[in-house]
């Protein structure tokens, strides 16, 4: 008996475990009920002083804290929460013995301000330079800072905790990272390199410098009051994205291996696509060709026609540029079929979880398929007349959903799309 294959003759990749954490809560149940109720997780930042900031709200995960405080530490904690949930559902492998590789989307890491100021205090002077800092940095007093602020540290700890196999891969494709992590897992299974893959995307990096960096690039919404109304995808009065934290985890398996062990199949990653934009560091090519090409590659990879997509989980950041480009390119790809596709942006409620977004939104897309209900785009009160999507406005909508396209676009010309379906084609 030959193994079941997709239209291109490759192993079919299915999902057998899902986990998610956002500012709305921990776990699928909590997230799904709040998401479909149209609740916002965006609030005024209380983790650190907001004096002097232009943007003072974010989708912080405030119900989780780590000690010592660091964004990298929180990032790791969120990843573990999502992974625990996904592994419990998948019931795969033994304890600390996941039978496949780890692909982790994670924000770039660097020494953070609380630690930097701690080193500064250790110098013991009020006028000092880098030489003085170097003199107090060695000798083992701060050795944990080295490990904490290595780029591979989060993946290293996850690999050890869950016993994933081989060298764990930490990756960044900016705001498309979560989708890329899933894509790498899909490719490994399709090659036959692995029967299962753990794909995790995580971001706990709402800190003063991160907010300032995006602020200085004029990327963030400054509609601070009320915070829950700040993220306005597809609205005429949208003014930027809202930074947020969260994590998504997915256990991917070959259909053959999942059915052989009697695992419940939650959905299928039918297609992945990626196409780089070489136009500008932060802006899309005005003709939209790379994004259009990315979506078409994804459809081709899934072996689906545009007419077979019945929901789009949009990147929908609520920046003036992104939403316009996303509409224009989607209109080209889907043509006359576009009005029949309900479109929604989870970011209206959970904000932009940056490195985690692609996976968080893939989890929500699979929950959409499961519940046959599309979460709303909230704060959609003043539609942008130039964006003619059928936006799922303000209230969740029941719908027949068989195939979802989830899109992610990031700084550095990163475009990645996924197509998720309920059943193997």
């Amino acid at each position: 008996m030959s193994a079941p294959r997709d239209k291109s003759g490759r192993p079919i990749v299915v999902v057998t475990g899902l986990g998610v954490v956002t500012s709305l809560g921990a776990g699928k149940k909590d997230n799904w009920s709040k998401l479909t109720a149209g609740e916002s997780g965006i609030r005024t930042v209380t983790r650190f002083p907001i004096d002097g900031l232009k943007t003072t709200m974010a989708g912080t995960v405030d119900f989780v804290s780590v000690d010592p405080i660091s964004s990298t530490g929180l990032t790791e904690r969120l990843a573990k929460m999502a992974t625990d949930e996904a592994l419990e559902q998948a019931a795969i492998g033994g304890k600390a013995d996941f039978p496949g590789p780890l692909f982790l989307a994670v924000a770039p890491v660097e020494v953070e301000w609380p630690q930097r100021l701690e080193i500064g205090r250790a110098v013991g002077k009020t006028e000092f330079g880098y030489d003085d800092i170097l003199r107090v940095s060695g000798g083992g007093k701060f050795s944990e800072f080295h490990h904490r602020f290595m780029f591979g540290s989060v993946a290293s700890h996850l690999a050890e905790t869950y016993g994933t196999k081989g060298s764990p891969i930490s990756l960044s494709t900016a705001c498309a990272s979560g989708a890329t992590a899933i894509q790498l897992g899909v490719e490994a299974i399709r090659r036959g390199d692995a029967d299962a893959a753990l794909c995790v995307a995580t971001d706990g990096s709402v800190n003063p410098e991160a907010l300032v960096r995006f602020s200085l690039l004029s990327a963030l919404s400054t509609q601070n009051d009320p915070p829950q109304a700040a993220s306005k995808p597809f609205s005429k009065n949208r003014d930027g994205f809202v930074m947020a934290e969260g994590a998504g985890a997915m256990v991917l398996e070959s259909y053959e291996s999942a059915t052989a062990r009697g695992a419940k199949i939650l959905g299928v990653v039918a297609g992945c696509g990626e196409l780089t934009d070489s136009f500008h560091r932060t802006r899309s090519s005005p003709d939209g060709k790379p994004i259009i090409g990315c979506k078409r590659k994804t459809l081709a990879d899934a072996g689906l026609e545009p007419e077979q997509i019945d929901h789009i989980n949009a990147h929908g950041t609520a920046t003036p540029e992104n939403d316009k480009m996303e509409y224009n390119t989607t209109a080209v790809v889907f043509g006359d079929h576009l009005p029949k596709i309900p479109v929604s942006s989870n970011k209206s409620m959970v904000g932009h979880t940056i490195s985690a977004a692609g996976a968080v939104e893939a989890v929500f897309s699979l929950l959409t398929l499961e519940h046959q209900r599309i979460p709303p785009t909230i704060n959609y009160d003043v539609p942008d007349p130039a964006i003619l999507f059928d936006v799922v406005a303000n209230k969740a909508r029941d719908a027949r959903v068989t195939a979802v396209m989830s899109n992610s676009f990031g700084f550095g010309g990163q475009n990645a799309s996924l197509i998720l379906t309920r059943e193997p084609a």
Binding site: H146, R191, R213, P290
Partner: protein, 400 residues
């Protein structure tokens, strides 16, 4: 992940190499420097720390627009430059048809911080300035708006796309030394399986950074006071950071032959591991496990290692090498310093270069661990054990 390759696996060739480092730029300059056993160190600028500074480079040659250069930090300029050299060397520079479907995996860290801004804030904080908005206000007022883009890990790939037009797919792996081992491993697997025809992989590192010295000083990894070749750093050991960029063009044999590309060598295998280093000897054991995965190897081969010089990892590597006494070993850290993500691609590049030039470059090691090997190499093992985690090996072979 350790199964033998299916018989349908495509042969993968290295058809382009770009190197820029403390020894110069390009293949001829590096070949000459290695044969002259040249080492370029600066022990004054960051004294008592030693670095291998980037040789003078005219970035205009690969990054013609000054505006592009201004948008990048040094690590990105080094990388974009080396990537351009690799594309030139593969004969695909400006070939839009190929570049638009070329896959790219970059192994990256991040860019340099604005040291002056950091220091001013740290000093003000030490003077007791701790009003709630102090840090926010200083960062809002003092950080250059575009600095973030010069620091972001995936923006090295982004800049390569913008400057050279490499725009098929773009992935950035992070995680120090292991990131580039995995970049080579995944690119090879994708081409072998037909998921990709041609790929650009590589990394860049600016070793002349005070903020990096501090990061590695936390773990007491920096070499201080006196330079010594890697195998001669007895006692506590240490690495001297090096500046370098190295990129490779890899493609399927069919793809290379169809466009008449001349190969340097074949990349036959890349394997990687994550040893749990809490146990002494874990690195030796990991390397022992990886070795047979390269296939049947002769007793008297060649091996290029990215050995860091730090302890006890370098001693654990030596313990592994002692099991293969017939091997001619070369440590790139002696000549190039430690270039983190760039060290493994550099090993692959020098292996391919040595094979294409019909000679392994001479030893540069007063301890005698490295020995002369006059015959033309047909196989070179490339090895890497990261300074804190990640082990890997590759096999580079002459084309049959």
């Amino acid at each position: 992940m350790t199964e033998p390759k299916p018989s349908s696996a495509k042969e993968v060739w290295i058809t382009g190499i770009g190197i820029v480092s403390s020894l110069g730029e390009g293949l001829d300059a590096h070949w000459d420097a290695l044969n002259e056993k040249r080492v370029n160190i600066d022990d004054k600028r960051f004294a008592p720390y030693i670095v291998h500074p980037l040789a003078p480079v005219s970035f205009d040659a690969q990054i013609p627009k000054k505006g592009d250069q201004r948008q990048m930090e040094a690590w990105q300029r080094i990388g974009v430059y080396a990537a351009g050299l690799a594309l030139d060397s593969a004969g695909v520079k400006g070939n839009t048809e190929i570049l638009e479907r070329m896959d790219m995996i970059v192994a990256a860290g991040g860019g340099e911080r604005d040291i002056a801004v950091d220091l001013a804030i740290m000093n003000a904080a030490a003077k007791g300035n701790s009003s709630p908005g102090f840090l926010n206000e200083r960062l809002m007022n003092d950080l250059r708006p575009t600095l973030f883009l010069a620091q972001l890990s995936n923006l090295l790939a982004g800049n390569i796309a913008i400057v050279h037009g490499v725009s098929g797919t773009s992935r950035t792996f992070m995680g120090e030394e292991a990131a580039s081992i995995d970049a080579a491993r995944i690119a090879l697997a994708r081409i072998e399986s037909g998921q990709s025809d041609i790929a650009l992989i590589g990394a860049a590192h600016n070793g002349e950074r005070a903020d990096l010295l501090i990061l590695y000083e936390f773990g007491d990894f920096n070499l201080t006071e006196k330079y010594a070749p890697v195998w001669q750093r007895d006692g506590k050991g240490g690495f001297a950071l090096g500046s370098a960029g190295c990129f490779l063009v890899m493609e399927s044999r069919e793809h290379a032959e169809a466009r008449g590309a001349k190969p340097y060598a074949r990349l036959s295998k890349v394997v990687a591991d994550l040893a749990q280093r809490k146990q002494p000897g874990a690195v030796t054991k990991s390397l022992e496990t990886l070795w047979p995965k390269l296939g049947a190897l002769p007793d008297n081969g060649n091996l290029i290692t990215g050995a860091t010089g730090i302890e006890p990892i370098t001693s654990e590597e030596k313990a592994f090498l002692r099991q293969h006494p017939g091997y001619a070993v070369r440590a790139t850290g002696t000549m190039f310093g430690h270039t983190l993500e760039t060290q493994f691609p550099l090993g692959l590049a020098l292996a391919a270069l040595s094979i294409s030039r019909g000679a392994l470059f001479p030893p540069n090691d007063p301890t005698g661990l490295e020995v002369e090997k006059p015959d033309a190499p047909t196989q070179i093992v490339v090895m890497g054990a990261g300074h804190w985690q990640g082990e890997g090996m590759a096999l580079v072979e002459a084309i049959k």
